[in-house]
Amino acid sequence: MAELPQAVRGFGVTFATIFKKVVTEQYPEQAAKFPPKPRYHGRHQLNRWADGLEKCIGCELCAWACPADAIFVQGADNQEGDRHSPGERYGRVYQINYLRCIFCGLCIEACPTRALTMTNEFELADNNRADLIYEKQDLLTPLLPGMLAPPHEMVPGTTDTDYYANKITGAVPEQAVQVDAEQVAP
């Protein structure tokens, strides 16, 4: 084979590549081609019981497990007529600072009620710091069918133990009445 100049031989690579399949993703214009695996550590979420009551009991163990000091929790007592979770306490303030979070998942392991889990959402970017501190309303899961927004009482005839044993299947009409009454009251 006749000796081509080095410079021309180099273009051979270029021409060959033109006909190869492109790996570049057009993100964010197009959706992510390879979504994260199911167990990817993404944004957190605060779960609810089947009737809509919050699972978080405000125990702050997540905040204590956090090696980056990214979580701030302040609990409060559930009151008569102002119940947000089964049992005595609920998380009144719940903040995760995503500027600090390292997505290690230790908070998830620490949570005694599985109130805190992680989603696959990784699109956490913003142009200011304040918006990256997620508040409780940003982290709570949306209400699914059969759930009612707290505050409302537990399912009549059940205790917090029934909730922890996962015996609650959904909100009942009595709870719906409480929620409606509250919405009408103010």
């Binding site: 009991i57 405000g58 125990c59 702050e60 163990l61 609990g75 005595e88 306490r89 620490a110």
Partner: protein, 791 residues
């Protein structure tokens, strides 16, 4: 075995020493010491739950089992006393002891819930710690754990999680042995054993919070602190309690700029390891209703002002006035009281100053100047414990100085006889197994003068103590009679004020006629020495106005400007006089941390620090300085002393140091006064009021006090507000369920209770919900009221 007693011998008992060997190490210790203490002295830690050095041994938890040579079975070290030659082997050297302890731990954990992650005790839990050090890593128990509905209230404040309890009986023993409120008891048997109360009698003890602190597991928690934070999340600062003159050491735990809880701190000489519920739970007032900026009055309205503007305004107002007065509320630290005393004399050139913004008298002022201010410490908690006899006058220790009560109770259990002069054999006196020397309110001086020969003889015994409360001010001739009695018998006389700052204010010179260290203003040498220390040519030489006279002068327009520091108008017996005085005074400067009736009347209000925001010293009733550090190091609020220093600067007057260290140095340099003391009071006893029903009253520990605001659980443990009368008096009234008591200003309707009150006297709380005597009735102790059965 016979023990011959030689109690009659007056020789100091020789302590018999015995030698015991613990884990192969010999130690010589007094006979009768518990094995667990002997081990502690050697630095050997035996695990324990029920053992507490201040409670009697009970050996309930069985955790401290040790192997003693010659004894077939392991023995509890907390209940076994040492004997000569005893060979003890703990878990460190004996497999038997180790195995026994591990077995006990496994047994204790059978039914103990695994809720450590959410339990308040988690992180400071003896059970958690000792399960790690003295337990087996695995449990063999695979049944379902016993559970109870949780939590139950043993009182409004104290909550009980029964499944966490290890039945150590610390709480029940505390209630019975220390507090004398045996309302907690172990109920049921076997696996159902649990702590409980009688159905209709909650654990409303003034000392209930201590049970939460000594509970070795998380079984007892307080409603105020339950789930509020975790121990490892708290910053702890040793502090001194600001509520009464007992001077307890406390530990203040705070988190993110808020106090989350307060604990009794270990101070053997003062509060041992206890405190009262007021000291433990009443701290929420620190955050509520605070004055945050200087305020000045403009066109009759207070408006926010900057510091320079307010200082200038106050300085001009004070300089313009020709006569001044200073009222210090009795809750200030020694340093702040000293700053007021100095400011009055140096900057205002007046001696019109008083810290007694309460029921006070001239006789009391004379008594304090002559017999209390700047005197060397004579009676302490320790001497109280050793005293053969204690006489209480105008003083109800359980309500007015609860740690004095606890020490008196300890003394009474050890044989001290307690007498109280007054119209009521109180609940507290009963718990002290005390004897009432009956006296109608106002008749105390006469009773003291004619005290039974037997009591008089007892008071002559070395170590006898006479304790006088602040209510002596309300009894004409009372202080005179007490001084005469003390002089005649040689008993140590001690004055126990109610507020934490009063003794300190007295020694700092915040009283007309008195300079720091108990120096009488009328002594030329004392005045010259203080003037030199303060860098002024002279000090006012005539004794100024104090108490009601000062307020009356203000009302009559004779006081151009008043400075008030931490004054609560509701404390005054004559509230209309207080209000009229402040309204008539030309210019009022208030240094306050809370909005109150005073700030409504003031022309300038300066915000000042509460105890967590400053360092300082309280002087307790013994005369013992109880210094404390600043809890919130970065607090920007200034103390009274600093604000007064700035005010003096604005008036172009130098008053000296206004920081804590500087003031302490100034006070130290002045030292105590050894010269002649002020003249003793000599006031004849007043007449006993006429009327079918005379009022006996004092402030309950838990009442409407301004420093108890915002603590509903504490308020709910207050004692029942009732009118207490004797059975005869109640019979004469027709034994109604409740009565309407009427005084000059109005009436209150309260339940009627029959108690150990002398006939013709009705005992009412002074400032409790639904019964505020000064405001609602307009009567003070010893005055007559009319009582009718309510419908």
């Amino acid at each position: 075995m016979t023990i011959t007693s030689d109690a009659g011998s007056d020789l100091t008992p020789q302590v018999e020493m015995v030698t015991v060997v613990v884990d192969g190490v010999a130690i010589e210790i007094p006979k009768g010491t518990l094995v667990i203490r002997a081990a502690e002295l050697l630095g050997i830690e035996i695990p324990r739950f029920c053992d507490h050095p201040l409670l009697e041994p009970v050996a309930a938890c069985r955790m401290c089992l040790v192997d003693i040579e010659g004894v077939p079975k392991p023995q509890p070290a907390c209940a076994q006393v040492v004997s000569e030659g005893m060979q003890v082997r703990t878990q460190l050297t004996s497999p038997v002891a180790r195995d026994a302890q591990e077995g006990v731990m496994e047994f204790l954990l059978l039914n103990h819930p695994l809720d450590c992650p959410v339990c308040d005790k988690g992180g400071e839990c003896p059970l958690q710690n000792q399960a790690m050090t003295a337990g087996r890593p695995e449990s063999r128990f695979d049944e379902v754990k016993r559970t109870f509905p949780k939590p139950i209230n043993v009182s409004a404040q104290i909550l009980l999680d029964r499944e966490r309890c290890v039945s150590c009986a610390r709480c029940t023993r505390f209630a019975e042995q220390i507090a004398g409120d045996p309302m907690l008891e172990l109920l049921e048997r076997g696996a159902n054993q649990q702590v409980g109360t009688a159905v209709d009698q909650p654990f409303d003890s003034y000392f209930s919070g201590n049970t939460v602190q000594i509970c070795p597991v998380g079984a007892l928690t307080s409603a105020a602190y339950r789930f509020r934070s975790r121990p490892f999340d708290l910053v702890s600062v040793p502090t001194t309690c600001e509520h009464c003159a007992s001077g307890c050491s406390l530990r203040t735990d705070h988190r993110r700029g808020t106090v989350t809880r307060r604990l009794a701190w270990d101070e053997p000489a003062v509060n041992e390891e206890w405190n009262c519920d007021k000291g433990r739970f009443a701290f929420t007032y620190q955050e509520q209703g605070r004055v945050t900026t200087p305020l000045i009055r403009e066109d009759g309205q207070l408006r926010v002002a900057s510091w320079p503007e307010a200082l200038d305004f106050a300085a001009r107002g004070l300089s313009a006035a020709s006569s001044h007065g200073v009222l210090v509320g009795g809750r200030s630290t020694v340093e702040d009281s000293y700053a007021y005393a100095r400011f009055a004399r140096v900057a205002l050139k007046t001696d019109n100053i008083d810290f007694r913004v309460r029921d006070s008298s001239d006789e009391e002022a004379q008594f304090l100047r002559s017999a209390v201010a700047g005197t060397a410490v004579r009676t302490t908690y320790e001497t109280l414990e050793q005293a053969p006899v204690v006489l209480l006058i105008a003083f109800e220790p359980e309500d007015e100085s609860p740690i004095v009560f606890l020490r008196l109770r300890k003394a009474a259990r050890g044989g001290t006889r307690v007498y109280a002069v007054g119209p009521v054999a109180t609940r507290g006196l009963a718990k002290l197994s005390g004897t009432l020397i009956p006296a109608k309110p106002g008749a105390e001086p006469a009773v003291l003068a004619e005290l039974a020969e037997q009591v008089r003889a007892e008071l002559q015994a070395p170590g006898a103590v006479i304790m006088v409360g602040e209510r002596i001010a309300g009894i004409q001739g009372g202080a005179t009679a007490v001084l005469q009695l003390a002089q005649a018998t040689g008993a140590a006389l001690t004055w126990v004020p109610r507020r934490a700052g009063e003794r300190g204010a007295l020694d700092a010179g915040a009283l007309a006629g008195l300079l720091p260290g108990g120096r009488p203003l009328t002594e030329d040498s004392a005045r010259a020495a203080v003037a030199a220390a303060w860098g002024v040519d002279s000090l006012p030489a005539t004794v100024g106005l104090a108490g009601a006279e000062l307020l009356a002068a203000a009302r009559d327009g004779a006081i151009g400007a008043l400075i008030t520091g931490g004054v609560e108008l509701g404390d005054l017996a004559d509230q209309s006089l207080g209000r009229a005085g402040l309204e008539a005074a030309g210019f009022v400067v208030a240094l306050e941390n809370h909005h109150s009736a005073i700030t409504e009347l003031a022309d300038v209000v300066f915000p000042v620090a509460v105890v967590t925001e400053k360092a300082g010293t309280f002087m307790n009733w013994e005369g013992r300085p109880r210094p404390f550090a600043q809890t919130f190091k970065d607090a920007l609020v200034m103390s009274d002393a600093v604000v007064l220093g700035m005010l003096a600067k604005a008036m172009n007057i130098a008053v000296g140091a206004s920081d804590v260290a500087g003031i302490r140095q100034e006070l130290g340099a002045l030292g105590a006064w050894t010269g002649p003391r002020a003249e003793r009071p000599n006031v004849p006893a007043g007449p006993v009021a006429e009327g079918a029903h005379l009022v006996a009253t004092w402030r309950a520990l838990i009442d409407n006090g301004v420093m108890q605001e915002g603590e509903p659980y504490l308020a709910a443990t207050a004692h029942l507000v009732a009118a207490t009368v004797s059975a005869t008096t109640a019979g004469a009234l027709g034994n109604p369920e409740s009565v309407t008591v009427t005084g000059p200003l109005g009436s209150v309707t309260v339940p009627l209770e029959i108690g150990a009150v002398i006939d013709g006297v009705v005992c009412l709380p002074l400032n409790s919900p639904g019964c505020v005597l000064y405001r609602d009735l307009g009567v003070r102790s010893g005055q007559a009221v009319t009582i009718k059965g309510a419908l």
